[in-house]
């Protein structure tokens, strides 16, 4: 797909500034599609007739018949914006919005979307077309998606928040393991006195750490999976959009396990290590 700015267009979204139900139906009317949000806001249905004009005075208004209602493609950049949109046939839109004194009004469009044949190189095609038609700008859609700087920045922001959360969790985890290990001081002392080596006890602590951290991480993942739908439903309701806000992808699960389990185990072992360096008699001392 190649986006070609400036000369022509295939499908356009009309920015209509007046949108009123027509007072009387006409015979063979041009048809339009309207967004679900607009239909809900104005109580419109397929088959209704509406009058569209380019300004709020309603000058040059024309009557159209609603052929259908569509769900706009979710667009994160337009989150929060009311998607009150209508799609017109290109000649109808040009006739409605063109300046009357502009002889080229029905020849100008904002963009052309081009679908290439499977296997075609969009980059090469863009360069060739750009060289052959000076005055226009040609972008492969993949480049446009890759340059979505807003989302790259948001991803970095969420990563930064995640790092802070991990730091806070690690500090708390250390505090907890220090307390728990301290609680087991006497038990460890008795184990040492009956012959278990420090290495053997450390191995046990390591195994316990894996079990605890694994269970905790698993619980966290299950909690995230359970809340995924709730969060999505809340934000989809809040912003009236079909966008997916949270997706627990397999790589997210693996990344979580890779961070949480080693951290949990390291916390347990680190806290236990300080205890195991003491002599058995010092440990059982009351």
């Amino acid at each position: 797909m190649v986006r070609l700015a400036a000369l022509a267009a295939v499908a356009l979204t009309a920015a209509v500034h007046a949108f009123e139900p027509a007072s009387r139906p006409a015979g063979d009317l041009p048809t339009i599609l309207i967004s679900r949000q607009l239909a809900t806001a104005r109580g419109l249905r397929a088959g209704d007739d509406v009058r569209l004009a380019r300004d709020r005075n309603g000058r040059g208004a024309r009557t159209f018949r609603i052929a259908g209602i569509y769900e706009p493609t979710p667009d994160p950049v337009r989150i929060g914006a009311a998607r009150h949109e209508a799609r017109l046939h290109l000649p109808d839109l040009l006739a409605l919005t063109g300046e009357p004194d502009d002889p080229l009004a029905d020849e100008n469009v904002d963009a052309i979307n081009i679908a290439l044949r499977p296997g075609a190189d969009a980059g090469a095609y863009s360069r060739t077309l750009g060289a052959r038609a000076p005055g226009i700008t040609v972008h492969p859609v993949a480049d446009a998606a890759g340059g979505a700087g807003v989302f790259v920045v948001l991803e970095r922001f969420h990563l930064a928040i995640a790092i802070v959360t991990i730091v806070a969790s690690t500090v708390f985890l250390l505090a907890l393991t220090v307390m728990l290990v301290d609680e087991r001081r006497e038990t460890v002392g008795v184990l040492r006195l009956i012959g278990l080596t420090s290495r053997r006890i450390l191995l046990q602590v390591f195994a316990e750490g894996i079990a605890l951290a694994g269970t905790g991480a698993l619980f966290g993942i299950l909690l995230a999976l359970a809340s995924e739908g709730l969060i999505n439903r809340y934000f989809q309701w809040r912003y009236d959009t079909a966008l997916v806000f949270v997706r627990i992808a397999p790589e997210v699960i693996w990344r979580t396990l890779l961070i949480a389990v080693p951290l949990g185990v390291a916390g347990s072992v680190l806290a236990s290590w300080t205890l195991l360096r003491r002599g058995p008699l010092a440990l059982v001392r009351r």
């Binding site: 005055g135 920045v153 922001f157 806070a168 708390f172 505090a175 907890l176």
Partner: protein, 402 residues
């Protein structure tokens, strides 16, 4: 006071545990503080930027963003009507477009945002070097103001002459170049960090666009007269020009807060809730484990005459001390963290340089203190219950026989 001193001694007995607990609370508190700063940061920042521009009502042809919808026709006549209103102190009409300066090969042309402004008493830009655009009524002046980024890209300063090619419609144009003299270098509100901007008088803009008789405007900025409020000015404009869309700064900020900025408010609410829940859970666990380890001591203290209320006060004081010290540490940590997160978010393309995501306001501080206090209280509930219902004799017996 006694309870507080006793709690401080209890914490000092286990320094590693106390330090880790306080550090953890500081980290959670810092994140909470940042989320409070984020919740209204953009709104406060935008409000401040709009008010600093010196105009408090914006008039466009429709509710579309300036430059994306239809233009206001016969702008000079509209301006005359608006400035005649007692509620209006001054008004300036703006046209938006873009421009290029062709450089010597092989350097590519330098593109920039171009706007034309009807001369007025108030200017929303600040001249840094050189002088302001001359006001010569309805005649072109042949002068341009440029910002620092454009001056650097062109390698010119006040007094230099440049040839600009303007583009004034939403399509590529090939207009002939117009020669103008750089009157000065100015700072324009809402410029992004790397944005290059130039300003012409409305007449010069029309000449550069090849439409000397064009009287359209994309936006009219209105400054309210001192005796009136922005809402009164907006209502007066709506009365004389019901065909136009007038909005005050406060309205605009409210609209942005409800739409474009709401994502960050929502995300801050979610993260603040999660952070608080996380903090509550962990402080509860820390206190509970700490109390469990001291059950024998507590029972002994009760046995020698300490009241149940006194022991409850000790636990509450321990919670308050940990959360108080952690919460106080959270403020400087939170401010440093906010500066780091703000730098990350400010790399968002198209964001005006003067907008910030994390903005301090006293309300955030009070809210932070209130939430941390409530967390300390809630976190102490379960350990307090343990202490208040502790069977003294059974606990002491169990302590001796275990």
């Amino acid at each position: 006071m006694r309870a507080l001193r006793f709690a401080a001694r209890t914490l000092r007995r286990q320094p590693a545990r106390a330090l880790l607990g306080i550090l953890g609370i500081a980290a959670v508190g810092a994140l909470l503080f940042d989320m409070l700063l984020l919740s209204r940061g953009l709104v406060l920042s935008m409000e401040d930027a709009l008010n600093r521009a010196g105009f408090d009502v914006r008039v466009t042809a429709t509710a579309s963003l300036p430059g994306t919808g239809p233009r206001i026709g016969r702008a000079p006549a509209v301006l005359a009507t608006l400035t005649a209103l007692p509620e209006v102190d001054d008004a300036v009409a703006l046209r938006f477009g873009s421009g290029r300066v062709l450089m010597t090969a092989p350097s590519p042309p330098v593109g920039f945002t171009l706007f034309g402004a009807e001369p007025s008493r108030r200017r929303f830009w600040t001249v840094i070097r050189g002088r302001d655009l001359a006001a010569r009524g309805d005649a072109p002046t042949g002068e341009v103001l440029i910002n620092e980024a454009l001056a650097a890209a062109l390698g010119v300063d006040a007094g230099a002459s440049i040839a600009i090619r303007a583009s004034c419609v939403r399509a590529n144009e090939a207009l002939p170049p117009v020669h103008v003299r750089v009157a000065g270098v100015a700072r324009f509100p809402f410029d992004t960090v790397e944005q290059r901007t130039a300003a012409l008088s409305r007449r010069d803009f029309a000449v550069a666009c090849g439409e000397p008789d064009d009287e359209g405007a994309d936006l009219i900025l209105v400054a309210t007269a001192p005796a009136y409020g922005p809402d009164q000015a907006r209502d007066a404009i709506a009365r004389v020009h019901p065909d136009l869309h007038a909005v005050s700064n406060a309205q605009l900020v409210r609209q942005l807060a409800a739409t474009r900025f709401s994502y960050f408010r929502q995300i801050s609410a979610v993260l603040a809730t999660v952070t608080l829940a996380f903090g509550l859970l962990l402080i509860t666990v820390l206190l509970t484990v700490s109390v469990n380890q001291r059950l024998g001591t507590i029972a002994a203290l009760r046995a020698i005459g300490f009241s149940s209320r006194r022991m409850v006060a000790d636990v509450l004081a321990e919670s308050a001390l940990m959360v108080g010290v952690g919460g106080a540490l959270a403020l400087p940590v939170g401010l440093l963290l906010a500066a780091w997160l703000d730098r990350i978010l400010k790399r968002m393309p198209g964001l005006p340089a003067e907008l910030h995501f994390f903005v301090y306001e006293p309300r955030a501080l009070w809210l932070h203190a209130g939430l941390m206090g409530a967390t300390a209280l809630l976190a102490a509930l379960y350990p307090v219950r343990l202490v208040s219902r502790l069977p003294i004799a059974a606990t002491l017996r169990s302590e001796i026989t275990s």
